[in-house]
C-alpha cells in the first residue's frame, strides 16, 4: 500500500501541495490533469527524484520520504521511454539487475522471462535506436518490471505513440498489469485513457488534487467545474436550484438535488437524446431547440442545440445520418433528471 500524506514539493515557480493519497496494492491508479498540473513532479517525488519539502511517503508500512531513489524499489517509464542509447535492448533490461548484483545466470533467465511477458524476445540484441515507438515502450516496461518493483510509475507512457499503437499498447498495459499484478501509478492528460485503464483516478490541477474517485465517479459526479470540464462534460451551467428544479436562464431542468440557491450543474453530451419529435420516455427533461452547430469527429458527431442556452449533444454517425440533422433544423432534446449532476 502506498500512502502519501500532506505532500509538498517546491519547484520555485510551482508548488505541489496538500497531496493525500492511499493507493491499494495491485491497484492501477491514474493521475490525470492538464499540462503543468504537477503530475510528473508528483511521480518523480514518489520516485525520490525530487526533494520533498514537507509531508510523508509510505510504501508497505515503511516511510521512504527521504530515502535515496535507488533504494525505494520503484520503477519508472517515461513518455519517450528513455532507453539507454549506448546499450543494447538486453543490456537495457539487464541494467537494473546488474545494479542489484544478481548472478549472471539469473540475469539471463529473468531477461528471457520478462522479454516473453512483454513480447520482445526477438529484439534483445537490437539497439534502441532501431526500434519503433511501441517496441521501445515494451522494452521500457520490461526494464522497469524485471527488477520487480513495489510500484511502477508510468509518465504519459502512451502520449508519444500514434493512435493505433496507443490503442494496442493500452490493451497490452492492461494485460501486463493483470499478469504482473504490480501497483501502477499512471500519469496522463488523456481522460479517455484514464477511463480505459484506471481502477481509480486522481484529478490534479495547479499542484493540488481536485478529486479522487473511480472513473465512474469522476465521469458522473465531478466535484468542481474544472473536473467536469476535464472529464469532457461539455454542458456546464450556473443556475438556481429549488423544489427539484434548476433554473438555467429561464429553462427549468428537473434534477435530483438537495442543494438550493445558486448552483453549478453538469450534463454529459452522451446522456442527451436528440429526436425530430418529442420522445415518449421516462426522462423528465424534454425541450425543443434549434441545431446551431455541428462538429464532425468521424465515428461520432457533436451537435449543439440552442434553446437557448446551448446544449452539446453526442450522437453516433449512424444516428446523425438517420435523423438528417442540419444547422437551423428544429429538434427535441431529452435527458433524465438523474443525468444532471448538481454541485
Amino acid at each position: 500500500m502506498i500512502s502519501i500524506k500532506n505532500l509538498k514539493v517546491d519547484l520555485g515557480s510551482f508548488l505541489l501541495r496538500d497531496i493525500n493519497l492511499d493507493i491499494e496494492p495491485g491497484e492501477y491508479f491514474i493521475t490525470l490533469g492538464p499540462t503543468g498540473a504537477g503530475k510528473t513532479v508528483l511521480l518523480e517525488a514518489i520516485a525520490g527524484l525530487y526533494p520533498v519539502l514537507d509531508g510523508e511517503i509510505w510504501i508497505d508500512g515503511r516511510e521512504i520520504t527521504r530515502l535515496n531513489s535507488e533504494k525505494r524499489g520503484i520503477g519508472i517509464v517515461y513518455q519517450d521511454q528513455a532507453l539507454f542509447p549506448h546499450l543494447s535492448i538486453e543490456e537495457n533490461i539487464a541494467f537494473g539487475l546488474r545494479m542489484k548484483k544478481y548472478p549472471k545466470r539469473e540475469i539471463k533467465a529473468k531477461i528471457d522471462d520478462m522479454a516473453e511477458v512483454v513480447g520482445i524476445s526477438h529484439l534483445l540484441k537490437r539497439s534502441p535506436v532501431t526500434l519503433s515507438g511501441g517496441e521501445k515502450q515494451r522494452v521500457a516496461l520490461a526494464r522497469a518490471l524485471v527488477t520487480e518493483p513495489k510500484v511502477l510509475l508510468l509518465d504519459e507512457p502512451l502520449s508519444a505513440l500514434d493512435p493505433e499503437t496507443r490503442e494496442r499498447m493500452q490493451g497490452e498495459l492492461k494485460e501486463t498489469h493483470r499478469r504482473v499484478k504490480v501497483t501502477i501509478i499512471h500519469v496522463t492528460h488523456d481522460f479517455e485513457e484514464a477511463i480505459a485503464l484506471g481502477h481509480r483516478v486522481a484529478v490534479l490541477n495547479e499542484g493540488r488534487i481536485a478529486q479522487v474517485g473511480t472513473p465512474e465517479e469522476i465521469l458522473r459526479h465531478p466535484s468542481s467545474e474544472f473536473v467536469a470540464r476535464f472529464a469532457l462534460s461539455r454542458n456546464i451551467f450556473t443556475g438556481w436550484a429549488g423544489d427539484g428544479f434548476v433554473d438555467i436562464g429561464g429553462v427549468k431542468l428537473r434534477a435530483i438535488t438537495e442543494l438550493k440557491d445558486e448552483v453549478r450543474l453538469s450534463l454529459r453530451p452522451e446522456d442527451i437524446l436528440i429526436s425530430k419529435e418529442p420522445l415518449q420516455s421516462t426522462a423528465r427533461n424534454s425541450f425543443q431547440g434549434v441545431v446551431s452547430d455541428i462538429a464532425d469527429r468521424g465515428s461520432v458527431v457533436y451537435v449543439t442545440v440552442s434553446l437557448p442556452p446551448d446544449f452539446i449533444c453526442l450522437v453516433t454517425r449512424q444516428s446523425f445520418e438517420e435523423l438528417q440533422l442540419k444547422k437551423g433544423g428544429r429538434v427535441w432534446i431529452t435527458f433524465k433528471a438523474s443525468a444532471i449532476h448538481v454541485f
Binding site: 520516485a47 525520490g48 527524484l49 531513489s69 528513455a82 539507454f84 549506448h86 542489484k100 526494464r143 510509475l153
Partner: protein, 272 residues
C-alpha cells in the same frame, strides 16, 4: 530545411560565398603547408634528431598530455555540475571559466607566478611536497592547463547537456547510485564531447607560448634542458628564417598528424 548539394546549380549568393570560403581556407592552409613542403624529408629527419629539437617536442607533447589529463580529472566534474544544476552566480562562473581565453597569455604567466611561485601560498604548499613550478616541468603543465582547460570544460558541459536527464533518473530508480549513474550513463553518453574537448585542450596546450615563457622557459626534462616547441621556433628565428623553418615545419607536421588522427577518432565516434 534539408541540405542541398552545393555544386548542383549554385545561385549567385552561393558562388560569392564559395569564393569567400576559398579565400579563408587558403589563408588557413597556405602558411602551414608552405612551411612543411619547403623543407625536404631529409632535412626534417635530421632536424628531428637534434637533441634540443626532439627533447623540446617530447616535452611539449607530454606536458600538454598531462595538462589534459589533469584537466579531465578536475574539469569534467565542473562541466557536469554546470550542465545539470542551477545556482546563484552560475552565469558569472561560466564567464570566469572562459577568462583564460581572453587575457594575454604573458599576463597569465605572471598571474600564475603570483599564485604558484615559491614565495606564494600555493607555491609553498606544493614545494612542501616536492613540486616546484618556476623553471620546472610542472610549470609548463600548469601554464598549458590554465590557457587551454576552458576548451575542455565548455565542450564537456555541452556534452552533458545533451544527455537526457531522464536517463539518469531511470538509472537511479533501477538501483544505480548517483556515482554509478554518472559513470554508466552520463559519462559514456558525453564521452564524444569530452574527447573532442580534450583534443582541443591538448592542441591549444602544445601551442602555448606566452605563459610558459614567463613561468618555465628552460626546464629540466629527460636529462636535457629544453624549451617547449613554440619557444624553440622563436629562439631559432632569432638566428634567421632559414634556421627556424625546419623546426617550425616539424612542429607543424607532428601537431597536424596528432590533431588530425584524434579529431578523426572523435568524428568517427560522433557518427557511430
Amino acid at each position: 530545411m534539408s541540405k542541398t548539394n552545393l555544386w548542383r546549380k549554385p545561385d549567385t549568393m552561393s558562388i560569392v560565398f564559395i569564393v569567400l570560403a576559398a579565400l579563408i581556407l587558403l589563408f588557413i592552409f597556405a602558411p602551414p603547408l608552405k612551411t612543411v613542403f619547403s623543407s625536404s624529408p631529409g632535412m626534417l629527419w635530421s632536424t628531428l634528431l637534434q637533441e634540443d629539437v626532439y627533447s623540446s617536442i617530447l616535452l611539449t607533447i607530454s606536458a600538454a598530455l598531462i595538462a589534459t589529463l589533469i584537466g579531465l580529472f578536475l574539469g569534467v566534474p565542473l562541466a557536469y555540475l554546470l550542465a545539470r544544476h542551477q545556482f546563484r552566480g552560475k552565469g558569472f562562473l561560466e564567464a570566469i571559466i572562459d577568462v583564460p581565453i581572453v587575457i594575454p597569455h604573458s599576463a597569465a604567466g605572471v598571474a600564475l607566478l603570483f599564485v604558484f611561485g615559491s614565495n606564494f601560498l600555493l607555491g609553498k604548499i606544493f614545494h612542501s611536497i616536492g613540486i616546484d613550478f618556476f623553471g620546472a616541468f610542472a610549470g609548463v603543465v600548469i601554464a598549458m592547463m590554465f590557457v587551454s582547460v576552458p576548451f575542455l570544460i565548455d565542450s564537456a558541459k555541452e556534452g552533458f547537456k545533451g544527455v537526457d536527464v531522464r536517463l539518469e533518473k531511470v538509472a537511479r530508480t533501477l538501483g544505480a547510485s548517483s556515482w554509478k549513474s554518472f559513470f554508466r550513463i552520463s559519462l559514456p553518453l558525453a564521452r564524444r564531447s569530452i574527447f573532442s574537448g580534450s583534443v582541443m585542450m591538448w592542441a591549444r596546450g602544445i601551442s602555448e607560448f606566452g605563459a610558459i615563457l614567463i613561468l618555465a622557459y628552460h626546464v629540466p626534462f629527460l636529462g636535457h634542458n629544453p624549451v617547449v616547441a613554440p619557444i624553440l621556433v622563436a629562439d631559432r628565428f632569432n638566428y634567421g628564417l632559414e634556421y627556424a623553418r625546419p623546426v617550425a615545419a616539424l612542429v607543424i607536421l607532428i601537431s597536424l598528424i596528432v590533431f588530425i588522427v584524434l579529431r578523426t577518432m572523435a568524428y568517427r565516434g560522433e557518427k557511430a
